[in-house]
Subunit: 287 residues, 2 copies
């Protein structure tokens, strides 16, 4: 069942467990794809924005928090970054941040819903930026779970999962079979990263994800940041590697090249964000 | 002019610059004190909560983010902690966290609005906890700005400012005269801390505060955390000292005694939270 956002007067709201977060604005597009309800809005505060199944995904002036946090800790720390896989990420923001690195030679993006790509290109062109026409960018509209299952062993230097919450089309992006394949297709020295929900609004999902990824890869740690439009505003991304917790250490030459153009991320910010694990989560992960 | 929160159906919302954050629940008390509009609500998600002039202040099950972030970096790092001043903090949460330290011998709390204290004691007793009856706790209903102006030089080991946004009764808690007095009444080796707004929703206020406090005290740094009910969910507290940036280093014996009972704060969290300064703020502070 697909869900539209709640609207009343000039407000478009996401409701989550007795809390709502709304932006003042108007709905531009409301349609149902084969996978989900897609809503494009225009807001006073953050420009144009996207909701899927009634949940805030991104907005023109509130997207760098998410995309920089997912991309740079991985791209700055993997041994090599020639071949990158992005699963999901239909708005283009994750690909855009990856393609800022000249070392990225080939980026596969596998997005299940072509309408998300179409509507992002039409209404949110600043989020994808130049990615859609970059010769290194290779878009497949299809199932990222199947893609991960079928890719060769040790094929990618970096694997990034940029999906929505674990209900609806993204449900299969949160389980053992999927993460096992992500681990299998990652090169030694590679880095895996996924958004891993809110430690506050999705506490148990978050804890279970970190534990599972740590078990499968050998090394995994959550990083905490802010996405004001997501439930609680408090968000996490989990990074994993097979050889060592290499995602904790940036390669300074790569970092320097992207730091200047980043709004939120810096090597210092990243170091802090891996340490701001709240005490209640740290206790549960250490059990 | 005082403002009530927006309500529609079962929702109580704070509106801020084209964004709203609402909790599902009902209004228990709505009254106008000589200083502000006070609203007490009962919410499904976070229990009972308090709004002042229509802005979310605290709630039973979402208060530790704020109080632990303000108190522990200061109380764990000041040279001595015998004599503590809290300005504002009428819900009692800041005093409660301070009084967890046996080393605190005398705590003055100066809250301008006695009705906030009355209603917090009646409806939000878990937030103040044992503070109201602790023999070390000394409450004055009065003007914290005047208190800071009249206190003796180098009188307090720790000064904490737990006020609301810089409009209405808290306006005078954000200017040079007030911070100068806070600096004057702080002992050498003491630590000052204040909530310093959101780097996102109150960006310029935040930057101006950090710069001013740094100029006056000699050493000051912002720490970033989460308060989901505040605008953007992304909040900051600024710590200052006269002799050295001593707030960056916890005294391990004091820290160990409070870490076990803390939900969010830990020495590791604190270290991270001082580093998660977003790149756009760091650039402005370094100008």
């Amino acid at each position: 069942m697909t869900t539209a956002p709640e609207t009343s007067g000039n407000w478009i709201d996401e409701h989550h467990n007795g809390v709502r977060y709304g932006l003042e604005g108007r709905v531009l597009v409301e349609e149902t794809s084969p996978f989900q309800r897609i809503t494009v809005i225009d807001s006073q505060r953050y420009g144009k924005g996207l909701l899927l199944d009634g949940c805030w995904m991104t907005a023109e002036h509130q997207e760098r928090h998410y995309h920089e946090a997912l991309v740079h800790p991985a791209l700055c720390s993997a041994k090599a970054i020639e071949r990158v896989l992005v699963i999901g990420g239909g708005d283009g923001g994750t690909a855009r941040e990856c393609l800022r690195y000249p070392g990225v030679k080939h980026l596969d993006m596998v997005e299940i819903d072509g309408r998300v790509v179409d509507l992002s290109q039409e209404h949110l062109p600043s989020i994808g930026g130049g990615c859609w026409h970059d010769p290194r960018f290779h878009l497949t509209i299809g199932d990222g779970i199947a893609w991960a299952a079928e890719a060769e062993n040790a094929f990618y230097d970096v694997v990034l999962v940029d999906g929505s919450d674990p209900t609806g089309p993204a449900e299969g992006l949160f389980n053992r079979a999927f993460f096992s394949n992500c681990c299998r297709i990652l090169k030694p020295g590679g880095v895996f990263a996924t958004q891993s929900e809110s430690p506050e609004a999705f506490r148990q999902v978050h804890i279970d994800m970190v534990k599972l990824i740590r078990e499968l890869f050998g090394h995994a740690d959550p990083l905490y940041g802010w996405v004001p439009m997501y439930p609680s505003g408090w968000w996490s991304w989990t990074f994993a590697a097979k050889d060592a917790p290499r995602y904790l250490t940036v390669q300074s030459e790569r970092a320097a090249a992207v730091a200047e153009g980043s709004a939120i991320w810096s090597p210092r910010w990243q170091q802090g964000a891996f340490n701001t694990i709240p005490a209640f989560i740290e206790r549960e992960l250490n059990q």
